[in-house]
Structures are given as C-alpha cells and as structure tokens.
C-alpha cells in the first residue's frame, strides 16, 4: 500500500516530461515512440490516475448524489435500482444519502453541493418546503427533484400522477361491484385524499368521511389504521391503501378478523413494490412508476450535465394498475385464505 506512482514517477521512468505523460494518457496526438515509452512505464509501475487531482483541475467529479428518503423504503429502492445503471452507463459514480425524511438533513445535502464533491443531485423529498425552495435557488450544482415543485424553481422535475393512480384504483374497484370503498392513507396527504373524493364523485358514489383513515407509512401503522376503520364501519367491501406496506398491514388485520380477501374485502396497495407480488393473496397495486421516475430523473440529470442549460423540464410519469389476486374478479378460491 506504498504511495502509488504519479505522472511524475512515470515521467522520470520514461525520460519525458509530465506534460507528455498526461497527453499520452489522455490520448492526445503524440509521437509513437513517446507513447510506447510512457505506456511501458505506466504498465510497469501499475499506474492509476488520481481521480481527486483530476477533479480539482477539471472541475468535474464524475459523481452524482442520490438523496433517498429512507434506505428501507421499497419505492426509494426501486428508484435507486433504476438510477444506478443509467449513471453507471454515463460514467458517473453514485453517492448515496439517506435523509430519513428529516428536512434539516435534506437541506444539508443541498447545502453540501457547495463542497463540489458531486456534479449533480437527484433528490426525492417526501414534501417540498420553503426551505427546500430557498436552498434550491442557491444550489451550486444541477438538481433533479422527484416529486412536485412550483413552476420557476430552477430544477428539473419528475412527477408521479397519484391523482390518476387513485382514480384507476377506485374505478377498478367500482367495476368489480364494490360500493363501500375505504381509504387507508399516509399522513394527511392532500393529493390522494382529494383524488379519492373526486374519483368517487366521478362514479356518483357518496363521500363518507368514516371510510377514510389517516395513518403512518409502515406495516404495523397501516394495520392499526385499517383496524380502526373496520371497527367504525362494518360494511366496507374494498380498501385502497396509500402504499404497499400499509396494504400488507391491512391484509394482516382483515385475515385476523376473519374476512376473506378479495371475497369480502378487496385490497389495493400503491407503489407496486416487490412485496405486492410476494404477499398472499398477491396484492393488486397502483404503480406510480417509481422505477420509471428514477430512470427519467437520472437521464434528465445526465443530460443536463453534458448538455447545456436549457429551461428546467417537468416530466410526469403515468401510473399503472397492476391487478393481482387481492382484487380478483370473482371468488375463485385461489386468492382466499381458508
């Protein structure tokens, strides 16, 4: 682990100047003989370019940061999975931050762009505050936000369309003959909440506040929320859950209460994570295109890094309903626990 060779070492060994070494290593036009000598010396010494010095001079680190909400969240992971190959293909390394949904941490990440250890940032904040917008305006590197950002914010923007997603799910449940469709939601999110109401309106179904239960984001919390809802109204025949983990919690509770899925209650999750396919009965889920959003975000960033400074762009990724056993057409018996 002795100090590695530098271009100076090579230059001495090959009997040329460091400038020549650099030129050869970068493939700039050089006499054949010189190329040979330098290459030979570099090989013998096992030379590897120092990325730090290179970055200092070139003002490019070939690194991109991804600030994810939570290393455990399946939706974030789906984004990560999609982002990674795009960056790799474009020659960027991935620096991973986890902010645990703490705003101060997210602001920190934005601030740290000033350290110039990355060329750009992809960030997926659970919600965008004024502090975010302020820091975004002052950001020292290009940022792509996965989520919604007001017009005029100097950042590319990839959005999900949860409104349409909710509508897909509600329409689907309605088409199965369900009329008492409950919603188990994340923390006071307004968009899905409003969309749920709109979707009901569109179908001529009444809105019943008792059918809506706000809850956390995890399985146990989802279970508790579902339990409260079930305790309140007994004739629910469908549950729309704000994410798959909540839906799993709901399945737990339904099973425990002896209700069959989908016969008695149909369940739809959101995000279509791996868990949806693994659960039993397999969970129908509205994919908000996490992977797709990640991929697009990475592409936007790479594009901006190589390209020019056009206007900030906004891309909306359409949702997709993935139907599985938890909303099967009829009681086939295949999807129902005993």
């Amino acid at each position: 682990m002795a100090d590695g060779p530098t271009i100076t070492t090579i230059a001495e060994r090959a009997g040329v100047s460091i400038a020549s070494v650099s030129r050869v290593l970068n493939g700039l036009p050089t006499r054949q003989e010189t190329v040979r000598k330098v290459m030979a010396a570099a090989d013998e010494l096992g030379y590897v370019r120092n990325a730090v010095a290179r970055s200092l001079k070139s003002r490019r680190t070939h690194q991109v940061a991804f600030a994810m909400t939570d290393v455990g969240d399946p939706a974030c992971l789906a984004m990560l999975r999609a982002i990674q190959p795009v960056l790799k293909a474009a020659g960027y390394r991935l620096v991973l931050h986890s902010t645990d949904a703490v705003v101060a941490d997210e602001i920190d990440v934005l601030h740290s762009l000033g350290e110039r250890y990355v060329d750009g940032l992809i960030m997926s904040p659970p919600r965008v505050t004024d502090a975010h917008l302020e820091m975004l305006a002052a950001a020292r590197a290009p940022v792509v936000i996965i989520g919604s950002v007001p017009e005029g914010t100097p950042a590319d923007n990839v959005r999900a369309d949860s409104r349409t997603g909710v509508k897909l799910a509600v329409d689907h449940l309605h088409s199965l003959g369900r009329r008492r469709i409950g919603m188990v939601g994340g923390p006071l999110d307004t968009v899905p909440g409003a969309a749920y109401r709109e979707a009901l309106d569109g179908l001529g179904l009444p809105y019943d506040a008792d059918l809506v239960q706000i809850g956390g984001r995890h399985r146990a919390e989802g279970g508790r929320a579902a339990a409260e809802l079930l305790a309140r109204v007994s004739d629910v025949d469908a549950l729309l859950c704000a994410n798959d983990l909540i839906a799993l919690g709901a399945l737990d509770v339904l099973r425990a209460s002896g209700r069959r899925v989908p016969d008695d209650v149909a369940v739809v999750g959101m995000d279509d994570t791996d868990l949806a396919a693994a659960s039993w009965p397999a969970l129908s889920s509205v994919s908000l295109g996490s992977a797709e959003r990640g991929r697009v975000a990475a592409e936007l960033l790479v594009d901006r890094l190589r390209g020019g400074d056009r206007e900030p762009r906004v891309v909306t990724v359409p949702p997709r309903l993935v139907v599985r056993a938890s909303t099967a057409e009829a009681a086939t018996g295949e999807g129902a626990p005993a």
Copy 2:
C-alpha cells in the same frame, strides 16, 4: 450558479492572507479580531469548503465505497441499510457500486481504488476467485470483504456461518417430524450442500441425491428447481431453500401442485428478508445476519481508517432461525392456503 467563493475571495474581502482564512476555518489558534473578520466575510459570501481540493491536500476523501452484488438483492440491501448509518455517523459518504455478480466488474472496483476517490471499500462478492485475491493483495486502500477469504489475505473479513445455519434449519425440520427433507440450492454452492449432508448425518438420516436440486438465485428459477425436485421424488415433506426468493418460487410451485404448506411440505428460506414476512404462508427463514454483517463490516472499516494497521481481522456472525407459518408446528389452518 456562478463560481463559488474560495478562500482567496475571502482573504481579499477580509484583508488577510489565505493562510489565516484556512486557520480560522479549521479552528487553529488565531487572534480574535482576525477570526471575526474572516467569519464575517465567509458568511457574507456564503462560502463552502471545496471538498475536492481538501481531499487532494489531505489525501482523505471521507468517502467509502460499497460494492454490492445486485441493487435488487434483498440480502445486499439489508447490508446497505446497516452500513449506511455507521458510515454517516463516522463522517463518511457512501459510494455505491453494483457489480451484478460479474467478476470483471468486481476486479474493476478493486482496481479503481487506485484512483483514490474513496478511503476504503466494503465488498461482498458472491464468490472469491484467485483474481480477487491477487487484486486484494495489490489494493491501494483498506478493504473489508463480506464473505470468506483465505488466511493471509490483507483484508478484514466478515463471515456468515451458513454451515450452522443449514444445520439449524435441518434440525428444526427434523424436530417437526419431517424425514424427507429436500434442498433447493444456489449455483453449486459447496458449503450449504456439504452442511446439508452433515446435518442429515448428525440426525442419522440417509443422504439421497435425488432430494437435492441445484438452481439459480431468483424466484422463477427457484420455482423451476423445486418443480423438478417434486417431479422426481413425490414424498418430500420439507424443502430447504438457499435463499428466500427461491423459497417463494417453491411456494408458488407447491401451491400450484395442490400441496399444503406446511401440512404437506414445510418450507424454510434463507436470509430472512422482508419478503419472508410478507409471503403467505409467512416463510420461516434462516437469517445469516446480513444486516449484522453489514454493520460489522462498516465498523471494521471505519476502525481501520482511523486506527492503525493491525492484523487483518475475521469476524463470524452467527445465524438465527426465524420460525414462521411455513414450518408451523401443527396444521393450525392458519398457515395453509385453501
């Protein structure tokens, strides 16, 4: 996004030399008046230290790389989740590589340590080849290997104990009265295979080659492997699977063939990933301590980075059997599909 201020900018503004600025910013003893001037200037200009220049001079990047096999693999993700907070707490950024289990890519990562863009590396190769060992010997930064590495290799080493893990599972199945215990394995792994045989020996059960089926690592592959095994021997009453995905595949196939789990066939997975708890029936699984191994690996690396160069250390993380419905004691009805 104009060029940010540097210590030179600050020095001019404050009317002092760049050395003084640096001293103030690093908290070295300085006259109070100077501190005030520099701080004022830095604040007004919104100065942020340039990490690249800093790294070049100090020869430390405060970055650590984690080379994971596959961004999709739940066991790797568990490691990642455990590694991240340790590094963050120690002041290191995380650079993520995904090698897709391609040896050349893994060698590449080791080689790229010469670029000095990270202070150290955590790597979890599916198997360690001679090429790995060769590169490890020449590695230009400390490396921690999650997996097994021969003695004398200059790298810290965190091991799972799959031998004991397999034994736990086989003993458990045996204690449930199962006597025809099959194994659905990863690609020709010798350790679990041998351990399986030993465990049978220990219980006085005969080894039957027909009960062992080699397969891939994913759900569909696992399903195919399980199907072949079932087609060959019809009296299997338990399946031990080399990982949870394979086990899910096996569950699919068992369900399709009309066998009840655990009544007819008990199933045990390995790695105890999120999927195990989500599946139905919930999957018993041998945890090889992925999270624990990740955490330990990160701690070893951080320790080595700050500490000295003691001898390479080896830590073995003990396995743990997590019992769920797929190996429930009796046919309670709770765990069985209709």
